[in-house]
């Protein structure tokens, strides 16, 4: 009994480390992919100096970030200032714990599910963590003792709180269809067809709200380079700045995974192995995110608020009512 428990614990640790390493590496190379794609979309080459096709660029960037001086601005609230980037990166990493990324397999009669934990309130866990990551931004902005950072932090708070509502509401129809808050159950409910076919409105709402949630263009107001320097991470240097970016890129992967799980049928798919299906779907979403970054301008602050409160939330509420009515009618 105790041995089984210890064995299970060891398996968990191994699984955790593999996922952690893969996630961090993918996030690092996502920077390269993004820069390369952005470059090509602007008729440039993108990074191509460090190594073959610039493939060593993430490593070189890492060395540069680590060897840079870690400065704390004068008058900053030191503890919070040092803590904030960690919050952002940690929350992004933690969300991945509930995402099922493949069909489990059996090793020596022991089932190994390809998900870290099948939490029965996975959707709520994800919403809670994405709310918590606002703290990283607000605290980072406030603790920097700089007006640009503060403005970025305030914008971040306002934007993420507004879009959180639409984000949560857009997931309600999915939960209604799957009859479960667990992401594993939601994936299994899409065995026959992905939810995007029955919930296209919900998909659009979730996608827009989630892009705003991870602060990507066209919703990158908290870090608007043109008007705020770099927003909440203006004062950060070295690896702390890197952590903010790491968090942002992990968030991109997490968003891709969540869209896949909620609307694109998770790892379900014909012919190809489940893990590959999952990766393909995630990368399609990530590609769309990069594509949007290369194309769209940043929207104005009042437009952002109008869209969140006057468009997304009413449409999401209406969508819930219609979905509820249809489900009630079917049964």
């Amino acid at each position: 009994m105790i041995w089984a428990w210890i064995l299970g614990f060891i398996f968990l640790i191994i699984k955790l480390s593999i996922i952690m390493i893969v996630l961090l590496t993918v996030a690092a190379y996502l920077v390269w992919v993004e820069r390369k794609l952005l470059g090509r979309m602007q008729a440039r080459f993108g990074p191509n100096r460090a190594g073959w096709f610039g493939l060593l660029q993430p490593l070189v960037d890492l060395v540069k970030l680590i060897t840079k001086e870690d400065t704390v601005p004068e008058g900053a609230s030191k503890g919070l200032f040092l803590l904030a980037p960690g919050v952002v990166a940690l929350m992004a990493l933690l969300i991945f714990a509930v995402i099922p990324f493949g069909k489990g397999f059996t090793l020596r009669g022991r089932p190994i599910p390809l998900v870290i934990t099948d939490l029965n309130i996975g959707v709520i866990y994800f919403l809670a963590l994405s709310s918590l990551s606002v703290y990283g931004i607000v605290l980072g902005g406030w603790a920097s003792n700089s007006k640009y950072s503060l403005l970025g932090g305030i914008r971040g708070a306002a934007q993420m709180i507004s879009y959180e509502i639409a984000l949560g509401l857009s997931l309600v129809p999915v939960v209604m269809l799957a009859r479960s808050f667990s992401l594993v159950e939601i994936t299994n409910a899409q065995r026959n067809y992905p939810f995007i076919l029955v919930q296209p409105v919900s998909f659009l709402l979730f996608f827009i709200a989630a892009v705003a949630e991870i602060k990507r263009i066209p919703f990158d107001l908290p870090e608007a380079e043109n008007e705020l320097g770099a927003g909440y991470h203006t004062e950060y240097s070295g690896m702390r700045f890197g952590l903010f970016f790491l968090g942002e890129y992990i968030n991109m992967i997490v968003l891709g995974s969540l869209v896949t799980v909620f609307f694109l049928g998770g790892w379900h798919g014909p012919v190809l192995p489940p893990l590959l299906w999952f990766l393909i779907k995630v990368w399609v979403i990530v590609f769309i995110l990069i594509w949007m970054r290369a194309t769209f301008p940043r929207i104005r602050y009042d437009q952002l608020m109008n869209m969140g409160w006057k468009a997304l939330i009413p449409v999401a509420l209406l969508n819930i009512i219609v979905t509820g009515a249809v489900i009630l009618g079917w049964s």
């Binding site: 080459f45 191509n48 194309t295």
Partner: protein
């Protein structure tokens, strides 16, 4: 609807460009041939006889907006002037080309070579030996002393494009 069409148009444009060849010129591997009059490193040229063209008139030094040119004039035994030393601080030079315009003898000229970066800033201070070249630059045939009225080469009125001297006392209309 209008808005969605606008967004889609932008997305299609970027997608099209994604599959296009980048327009970037990869600099150290490919060096774009520059026009002959491109303004880069400054040289001091020689006339067709192999003499220095510079007559140390200080006009380039005077016109230089960043005062990066300095020299010391001297005179040869036959009366021809030359700079004893001539120094250009390329760390300061802005490659405006005013010196070239001011030069009456076409001695100082800018070349298309622009690769001047050095590890040590003092290596960017070029002395006369570094600046002097063995050719005539952009105008190889020009020789100031054959054009202008300087008695050391020939008498008055014997130079290229020069009229005979007139007798001012009998110059009646």
């Amino acid at each position: 609807m209008e808005g969605i069409r606008g967004l889609a148009k932008g997305l299609i444009t970027t997608l099209k460009i994604l599959f296009r060849k980048p327009v970037t010129e990869q600099y150290p591997e490919y060096k774009r041939p520059l026009p002959a009059r491109a303004r880069g490193v400054i040289i001091l040229t020689r006339d067709p006889d192999g003499e220095e063209r510079c007559v140390a008139c200080y006009l380039c030094s005077a016109v230089c907006p960043v005062s990066c040119i300095s020299m010391q004039s001297a005179e040869r035994a036959d009366g021809r002037r030359y700079p004893r030393w001539f120094r250009i601080n390329f760390a300061r030079c802005i490659y405006c080309g005013f010196c070239e315009e001011a030069c009456p003898t076409l001695a100082i000229q800018l070349t298309p070579d622009f690769e001047t970066s050095r590890r040590d800033i003092l290596k960017l201070v070029y002395e006369k030996e570094d600046l002097l070249v063995n050719h005539g630059g952009k105008n190889k045939e020009y020789n100031f002393y054959r054009h202008a009225g300087v008695t050391m080469v020939g008498d008055k009125g014997t130079h290229i494009n020069e009229d005979k001297p007139v007798n001012v006392k009998s110059n009646m209309p």
